[in-house]
C-alpha cells in the first residue's frame, strides 16, 4: 500500500492546471502525428524534446508521455478508416476495424477501438502502480534464449491459423523474414541482401512496406472491385458512440485476456506489435464467433487494441527501472531523461519519487484526457468516410507517398512503397495473407538475432532452449499453440460433431 500512498502524492503533482494544460497539448499533438502515417510518436516526441529543456523534468515527461498516448490512439484511426496502419502496433487493428468501417459503421469501429484501448492502458498503469518495484525484475530474467522464445511464441500464436492456402502463407512469411534481414546484420556486422543498391543498407522500413501493402494495395482492390463504402447510418453518431462503449463489457473476457497478454509482452521484450498480433491470434482461436474474424467482428478490434495499449503503457516500466526502452518512442524519452539530468535505472524509483509517481499519476490522467479527446473526434473522423472516393483516392496516394518519404527522407522508399502497393494488390487478389509478412518484418530480425546470440552463448547447442524452466515453458507453449489447430482438427475428425453449424 506504500505504492498507493506514493500514487496519491503523484496525483498531487500531476493535478495542477499547468500539467493538465500540457496533457491537453501533448495529447492533441500526439493524435495529429498518430493520424499522419510516417510521422508517428517517435518523430513527434523528438521534435518536442528541445522545448522541454527548460522545464521541470516531471512537466517535461508529462508533455511527452501525453503525446505518446495521443499517438497510440491516433494510430488506430487511419488503420480503421483507410486500412493504413500508422504504427506497427496498429496493423492488427486493420483486420476487423477496416471491414467494419467499410461496412458503414466507422463510428462503432472507432469507439470500440478507443474504448478497448483505454481499458488496456488502464490495465497497464494499474500493473505499474501495484508492482512497479518487482515487475521490473521479471525483465531481468530475459536473456537471448528467452527473447527468442517470446518471439517464437508470438509467431506460433498468430501463424498457422487457417483461412489462407498454407503454401501461400509460408511464402508470405518467408518474404517478411527476408525483408527483415536486409541491411546490416547486428550479430556479424555484415551487409546483407542489398541487391547492389547502396542505399538499401538502411534496411526495409516497416512503414514503407505497410503503406504500400495495405494502403495502396487496398486502394487498388477497392477501385478494381468498384467497391463503394456503404452509406453511413443516419443515426446520431453520438448515440452510436455511447451505445458501443456501453456494450463493451460484453467482451469482458476478451478485454481481460488481451490486457493480460499486452502487459506480459510489454514487460518482457515482446513489445506492443507482437502483443497485438498475438492477442488477435488467440482471440480468433478462442472466440465462439471465430468464423466472423476478418469481416468486422468487434472482438477482432477489442483484442489487438487492448493488448497494444496495455503493452505500450507497461513498456514504460522497463524504460524507467532498467533503462531499456520497450519501444522507439520510449527510446527518445530515455534520451530526454538523460538530458534532464535523470538516469534511468533501478535507483530512479528511490531517488526521484516525485518524478516517477508524478509520471505514473499522469498516465491515469493523460489516458483519460486522451480517450475523451479521441471520442470527441469520432464523428469528425467518421465523416471522412463520406468523402467521395475520387477525392479520397489521390489524398491516400499523397499521404502514403509523403509518409514513405518522411521515414528517412528517401525517394527510394517512395518507389519501394509503390512496388509494395502492386505486390499488396496481387497478394490480396490471390489470397496470400499479408499479416504473416508484416509480423515477420517487425520481429523477424529480432528473433534471428536472439537465436544467433543464444547459439554463440551455447557454442551451437540447441540445448540452451531447454536449459532453464522459463525458456522451456515458453518454447513448449509456443509449440503447443503451433500444433493446436492440427490436433483439434484430428480430434474433430475422430469424434462425431454434436452440432453441425454452418
Amino acid at each position: 500500500m506504500e505504492n498507493l500512498e506514493a500514487l496519491m502524492h503523484g496525483f498531487g503533482i500531476a493535478l495542477s492546471g499547468n500539467h493538465i494544460f500540457l496533457m491537453l497539448i501533448g495529447v492533441l499533438l500526439g493524435i495529429l502525428v498518430g493520424v499522419l502515417p510516417g510521422l508517428g510518436a517517435p518523430n513527434g516526441v523528438s521534435l518536442l524534446l528541445p522545448l522541454t529543456f527548460g522545464m521541470q523534468p516531471v512537466s517535461a515527461i508529462i508533455l511527452l508521455s501525453s503525446m505518446y498516448w495521443g499517438a497510440l490512439f491516433g494510430g488506430s484511426v487511419t488503420s480503421i478508416l483507410f486500412n493504413i496502419p500508422g504504427e506497427p502496433s496498429s496493423v492488427a487493428t486493420t483486420f476487423d476495424g477496416y471491414p467494419m468501417a467499410r461496412d458503414g459503421r466507422p463510428s462503432t469501429a472507432l469507439a470500440t477501438a478507443f474504448g478497448s484501448a483505454a481499458f488496456g492502458a488502464l490495465a497497464g498503469v494499474v500493473l505499474i502502480t501495484l508492482s512497479a518495484s518487482w515487475v521490473a525484475q521479471v525483465a531481468l530474467a530475459f536473456g537471448p534464449p528467452e527473447y527468442f522464445a517470446v518471439y517464437f511464441l508470438a509467431f506460433a500464436s498468430f501463424v498457422g491459423m487457417g483461412g489462407s492456402p498454407p503454401v501461400k502463407t509460408l511464402v508470405s512469411l518467408a518474404i517478411g523474414f527476408a525483408l527483415a534481414a536486409v541491411g546490416i546484420d547486428t550479430v556479424s556486422g555484415s551487409v546483407r541482401l542489398t541487391m547492389g543498391i547502396d542505399e538499401m543498407v538502411k534496411g526495409v522500413s516497416f512503414v514503407v512496406a505497410v503503406m504500400g501493402l495495405f494502403g495502396i494495395g487496398e486502394l487498388l482492390i477497392a477501385v478494381e472491385e468498384e467497391f463503394h463504402v456503404k452509406a453511413i447510418s443516419s443515426k446520431v453518431e453520438w448515440r452510436e458512440v455511447f451505445r458501443t462503449l456501453a456494450g463493451l463489457p460484453r467482451y469482458g473476457w476478451a478485454l481481460l485476456r488481451s490486457a493480460a497478454i499486452g502487459c506480459w509482452m510489454g514487460i518482457t521484450p515482446g513489445g506492443p506489435t507482437a502483443a497485438s498480433f498475438m492477442s488477435y491470434g488467440i482471440a480468433k482461436r478462442l472466440s465462439p464467433r471465430h468464423a466472423n474474424f476478418g469481416k468486422g467482428e468487434p472482438e477482432g478490434i477489442v483484442a489487438p487494441e487492448a493488448a497494444d495499449h496495455a503493452a505500450g503503457t507497461s513498456a514504460l516500466l522497463p524504460m524507467l527501472s532498467l533503462g531499456i526502452p520497450g519501444s522507439a518512442t520510449a527510446a527518445v524519452m530515455m534520451g530526454g531523461l538523460m538530458i534532464w539530468g535523470l538516469n534511468p535505472g533501478p535507483m530512479l524509483f528511490v531517488e526521484q519519487k516525485d518524478f516517477v509517481w508524478g509520471l505514473i499519476a499522469s498516465m491515469y490522467l493523460g489516458n483519460v484526457v486522451a480517450v475523451v479527446l479521441v471520442l470527441l473526434t469520432v464523428p469528425i473522423f467518421a465523416a471522412l468516410m463520406r468523402v467521395p472516393f475520387f477525392i479520397i483516392a489521390p489524398v491516400i496516394v499523397i499521404i502514403c507517398t509523403v509518409g514513405a518519404y518522411s521515414v528517412s527522407n528517401s525517394y527510394l522508399d517512395v518507389m519501394l512503397m509503390m512496388g509494395f502497393g502492386v505486390l499488396g494488390y496481387l497478394f490480396k487478389k490471390l489470397h496470400y495473407p499479408l499479416a504473416p509478412l508484416v509480423l515477420a518484418i517487425v520481429i523477424g530480425d529480432k528473433a534471428e538475432d536472439a537465436f544467433r546470440q543464444s547459439m554463440l552463448m551455447s557454442k551451437g547447442s540447441l540445448g540452451i532452449f531447454f536449459a532453464k524452466p522459463l525458456v522451456t515453458t515458453l518454447i513448449l507453449l509456443g509449440a503447443a499453440l503451433l500444433l493446436m489447430p492440427t490436433i483439434w482438427r484430428t480430434i474433430g475428425r475422430m469424434m462425431p460433431r454434436p452440432e453441425a453449424r454452418p
Binding site: 510521422l39 523474414f177 546483407r192 518519404y405 525517394y411 554463440l456
Partner: protein, 155 residues
C-alpha cells in the same frame, strides 16, 4: 483480359525471382557455422529456399487450377485510372518536387471527374500543397523533396 492463371503465374514469378535473389545474395555472406557462430547468410539462405520452393508450387498450382478470367477490360480500365496517375505523380517528384506534383495530381483528379468547377479544383490543389507545407515542413520539420525544379529556382 487477364486470367487467374496468368495472375497467379506472374505473382509466383515475382516471388520466385525474389527468392532466387535472396539465395544468391546470401551465399556471399557465408552459410553454416563458423568461429563467429551461425553465419549471417544462413538464415536468409533457408528463407530464400522456402520462397523459391513455395513459388514453384504456387506456379504449378495456379496454372492447373485458376483458369477463370479475373480481370476484364472494365476492371483493367478502372485500375489504370487509379494507378497510372499515381505512378506519374510519384515519377515526377524528382523533377518538379513534392509540392507542385501533389497540386497537379489533386487538380487532375478533380478535373477528370468533372464535379465542381475547375476553379474549385485549382483551389483544392493549392490547398493540398499548402497543407502539406504547413504540416510537414513547418510543424514537423520534415523537408519534402524540392526536385530538380526546386534546385533550379533555389528553393
Amino acid at each position: 483480359m487477364v486470367s487467374g492463371r496468368s495472375l497467379e503465374a506472374a505473382t509466383a514469378l515475382i516471388t520466385g525471382v525474389f527468392g532466387a535473389a535472396v539465395v544468391v545474395s546470401s551465399l556471399d555472406n557465408g552459410i553454416g557455422w563458423s568461429a563467429a557462430g551461425v553465419e549471417s547468410g544462413t538464415f536468409p539462405f533457408i528463407v530464400g529456399l522456402v520462397i523459391l520452393a513455395g513459388s514453384v508450387f504456387n506456379l504449378v498450382q495456379g496454372w492447373l487450377h485458376a483458369r477463370v478470367v479475373v480481370l476484364g477490360p472494365a476492371e483493367l480500365r478502372r485500375l489504370a485510372i487509379l494507378f497510372v496517375p499515381a505512378a506519374i505523380f510519384v515519377g515526377v517528384i524528382p523533377l518538379i518536387g513534392m509540392y507542385p506534383a501533389s497540386a497537379f495530381y489533386v487538380f487532375g483528379a478533380l478535373a477528370w471527374h468533372k464535379r465542381g468547377s475547375l476553379l474549385l479544383a485549382a483551389v483544392a490543389a493549392i490547398g493540398a500543397a499548402v497543407a502539406l507545407y504547413l504540416i510537414f515542413e513547418l510543424t514537423f520539420q520534415v523537408s519534402l523533396p524540392r526536385g530538380a525544379l526546386g534546385t533550379l529556382l533555389g528553393f
